[in-house]
């Protein structure tokens, strides 16, 4: 393990150096090798969380922080950078406590290692679910602080003074009599000390970096073509590969005629897999052309007849049944019987594709004694496992070199494309870079599930609900991803928000009815279960307010008296959006609020009705209380981008299935907001002393319901099914 660990680190360091413009000289090589401490700070943090780790750290690598002889600090990020700015955030956390500048830090990707890099919120090593800041906040600062304490102790012992008389600043320890020693000079001594028993972290008032806008570390390379994504890598001896999988999920290859494909200049091999045919060639164009030239006879399998209409019917049917009870307070059945009024509404959300601009890509090299994967992945451990199971190699022989990702939005929480790359690489004796065409990417995604939510409220004389019954029908991502549901039969992702709506309800009963559209593989999409839940709850509460003839913001506040943090966000939103100001006829505001990913977010859409169904978005205001902010620039950017990402989907996007085949193949059929259509997003980040919350998906989750509620306000039309284009709306 030790040797392999070393090899892997060296390799990823080379990768880093290759892609880095910073001249670090030869010092780094020597600097890298001496471990910072026999047990690293991060190891201690992980050990505290996960129990004893035994002598695992005899090899001496710090999990999160390593200080070199040249004083440079390597921060090993357990989270991959895919645009959310997490590398910079993590670097800030370490730099804050270690007392170094951001420019002294080099970011490295963590290798798969469940002991070291398991995200305790997700319970595995992954980047997703808006957990990155929430999870790293404690252990990464602690790692920085521990390292600083050991370095100060080392300096104090050199100067024969008390540690308390010394101070760490800008990568040096300063002594009481004007002495100064750089961290690099102290590393060897510091590494001999045991870890301190108590580590005190700075109070927020003392932060000098955290909370201030920082230039992202990864962006300079992203404006001049230097940034390397998986699709850009070039490994010696590598050929390009691309694949065509059966257009129907679950189908297989019956036979292939490849004469025309092989005649295309540059084509090397045709590799037939169970469900796909791949071509390898000296260039991507030859691969794409050869794939078109293949004559493939498919066995479409059991899903050949399935179509969107049928999936919809089954989901609606399922929503009329009771399912597994995911939450229950009070007695909603009784309340519904005795209520002054009952109100029912059914909401439907479509299958969605992730369609990141970098299509699925993976570089794989399979050899007899090991396998290298250069791939941007949100799940390095799962990537390692799939490669091990295909090749028969042990997980330790699978080296994952994680890469910046050209947009993921959840897509690279799956590893189907990694599996395919390894399958192809196993059949040839050279490394391959798998690059899917856009068409392959869009038609072989792992889609956001389609859901039907049926909500039935018991309404009192005052127009407020005693409670509601909420039935959720849809496929289970958890069951597919984890190979089964928990013992209680509830997909805990699918019932998010529904089981704990922010509103005070005496009675609540949530049913989960698993209805699996076998034809469509489903997975997490930006916003995950929260997105589904917020849409249903926030549309429903808006309808109840409207039925009661009460202002929807006032109505919500009345039901939120037990949640002052949410009320505060709503009040702030009212101010920021001029909620109470009257609007002319044909113009309306819609609102949504939620406590999501540890943050409180509230959004207003103000729009004008143009003609019969034209929507012109006049204002988009969002207020976020995401607790203590690490990098305000990144918070704003995530809220802006996440909101517009959700807006594209709510307006335009739906994946449809006919004859078992996905109908949308490229961006002309799965369209995105473009420059002239994208409203500016006014983001207000509330000052907050709460623990950090997630922001990567928060904007995405809130915009859908805010938009349809605004459509109702402006057009008087209650749309319950997304996307809005399905009901004839278009953007002006």
């Amino acid at each position: 393990m030790s040797d392999n660990h070393l090899t892997q680190e060296s390799a990823s360091r080379r990768q880093f150096l290759k892609g880095s413009t910073a001249a670090m000289g030869g010092l780094m090589v020597g600097a890298w090798l001496p471990p910072f401490a026999p047990k690293s700070a991060a190891a201690a943090a992980v050990a505290t969380q996960k129990g004893a780790l035994g002598d695992r750290f005899a090899e001496g690598f710090g999990a999160f922080v390593r200080v070199g002889h040249d004083g440079r600090v390597a921060v090993i990020s357990p989270k991959i950078e895919m645009g959310q700015g997490i590398h910079t955030g993590i670097a800030m956390m370490v730099a804050e406590e270690l007392e170094v500048g951001l420019d002294q830090i080099d970011l490295q990707e963590a290798p798969p290692d469940a002991d070291l890099y398991t995200d305790t919120l997700l319970q595995f090593q992954a980047t997703g679910g808006s957990t990155s800041t929430r999870y790293t906040w404690e252990p990464l600062r602690r790692a920085g602080a521990t390292a600083r304490m050991l370095l100060v102790e080392a300096a104090a012992s050199v100067w024969k003074v008390e540690a308390g008389q010394c101070q760490a600043r800008d990568g040096q320890v300063l002594g009481p009599d004007g002495q100064a020693l750089g961290y690099g000079k102290l590393v060897d001594l510091a590494a001999t000390y045991p870890l301190p028993e108590t580590v005190e972290l700075k109070q927020p008032e003392a932060f000098r970096l955290i909370g201030t806008p920082a230039q992202r570390l990864d962006t300079p390379a992203k404006v001049n073509g230097e940034a390397k994504f998986t699709i850009d890598l070039d490994v010696p001896g590598m050929l390009i590969t691309s694949a065509r999988a059966c257009p129907v999920y679950g189908g297989t290859v019956r036979q292939v005629s490849d004469r025309a494909a092989r005649a295309i200049p540059g084509v090397k091999d045709v590799v037939v897999l169970e469900n796909a045919v791949a071509v390898t060639a000296t260039n991507t164009w030859a691969c794409f052309e050869a794939l078109k030239a293949l004559d493939i006879e498919w066995d479409y399998g059991a899903n050949r007849e399935l179509n969107s209409a049928r999936v919809g019917e089954k989901l609606h049917e399922a929503s009329r049944r009771d399912g597994v009870v995911a939450a229950e307070n009070g007695n909603i059945d009784q309340s519904l019987d005795t209520a002054a009024t009952q109100f029912e509404a059914v909401y439907e959300q479509p299958f969605l594709s992730h369609s990141p601009l970098e299509p699925m890509t993976c570089v794989a090299h399979v050899q007899a004694d090991g396998c290298d994967l250069w791939v941007g992945t949100q799940v390095p451990g799962l990537a390692q496992q799939t490669a091990a199971s295909i090749t028969g190699l042990s997980p330790e022989q699978i080296r994952i070199h994680n890469q910046w990702i050209g947009g993921a939005f959840g897509r690279r929480l799956d590893f189907d494309f990694i599996t395919q790359a390894v399958q192809i690489a196993s059949k040839v004796d050279y490394p391959v870079k798998l690059t899917w065409s856009r068409e392959e990417d869009m038609t072989h995604d792992m889609y956001r599930p389609r859901y039907v939510d049926r909500m039935t409220a018991a309404i009192g004389d005052d127009g407020y609900p005693a409670g509601w019954r909420h039935r959720i029908a849809g496929g289970s991502i958890i069951a597919r991803y984890l190979g089964g549901l928990p013992d209680n039969g509830v997909d805990f992702d699918a019932v998010e928000i529904a089981v704990d709506p922010v509103y005070h309800l005496d009675d609540l009963k949530v049913h989960y009815i698993r209805e699996e559209p076998e034809v469509v593989p489903i997975s997490w999409w930006r916003g995950v279960g929260v997105l589904r839940g917020i849409y249903a709850v926030e549309c429903f509460i808006d309808e109840l307010a409207h039925n009661a003839g009460i202002d929807p913001l006032t109505y919500r506040k009345t039901l939120l008296q037990h949640r002052p943090r949410v009320v505060a966000a709503l009040e702030r939103l009212a101010e920021q959006s001029n909620w109470g100001d009257p609007l002319p006829e044909g113009r309306g505001r819609g609102l949504a609020v939620g406590e999501v990913f540890g943050s409180v977010v509230a959004t207003v859409v103000e729009l004008s009705a143009v003609g019969d169904k034209g929507i012109r978005i006049d204002r988009l205001v969002t207020v976020v209380d995401c607790g203590l902010v690490t990098n305000p620039t990144s918070v704003k950017a995530q809220m802006e981008g996440g909101t517009l990402f959700g807006l594209s989907a709510a307006l335009f996007n739906e994946i449809e299935i006919e004859q078992g085949q996905v109908q949308q193949e490229n961006f002309h059929e799965y369209r995105q907001l473009r420059m002239g259509e994208a409203p500016s997003v006014e983001v207000d980040v509330m000052p907050s002393a709460e623990a950090p919350g997630g922001v990567g998906e928060a904007g995405t989750a809130l915009i859908g319901p805010a938009l349809v509620n605004a459509v109702h306000a402006a057009f008087g039309d209650r749309v319950r099914q997304l996307p809005l284009t399905r009901s004839g709306y278009y953007i002006v």
Binding site: V223, G225, P265, T284, W404, G406, A637, G641, G642, S680
Partner: protein, 156 residues
Amino acid sequence: MQTVKVNNQTHVVDVPGDMPLLWVLRDILKLTGTKFGCGIAQCGACTVHMDGQPIRSCVLPVGDVSGREITTIEAIGEQPLAQKVQRAWLDHEVAQCGYCQSGQIMSAVALLANNNRIDDHAIDQAMAGNICRCATYTRIRSAIQDVSESVGVWQP
């Protein structure tokens, strides 16, 4: 054999004339700053300049570019105006994943270089062919506005 002049260097490449310029740049000349996104001129990730005009290299056969000057993101920073654009991109912290930004910058530089008056509508038009899935549009607009103002072509 095809002859292409890219970033002031002439290359003779042994590829069929119908190979899109994008793949010549990326796979043959190893200029990977220009990205593949859709292959059908829908997303703009592959935008480069041909004689100073923005074109989608994913649909332009390499056989059609002989005698033309191609400029890619790797060399655009040699132009002072483009440097301003790149700087503005950093000042406004535009990039998120960054994958589309080469194409966005190439479109923006062409807009700025080829117009004496730039307003919001001009930005909408010039940038309409570039998709950003991270949806950084607001910041792209601000960055372009900033440069437009600094070079005196902004028309509010």
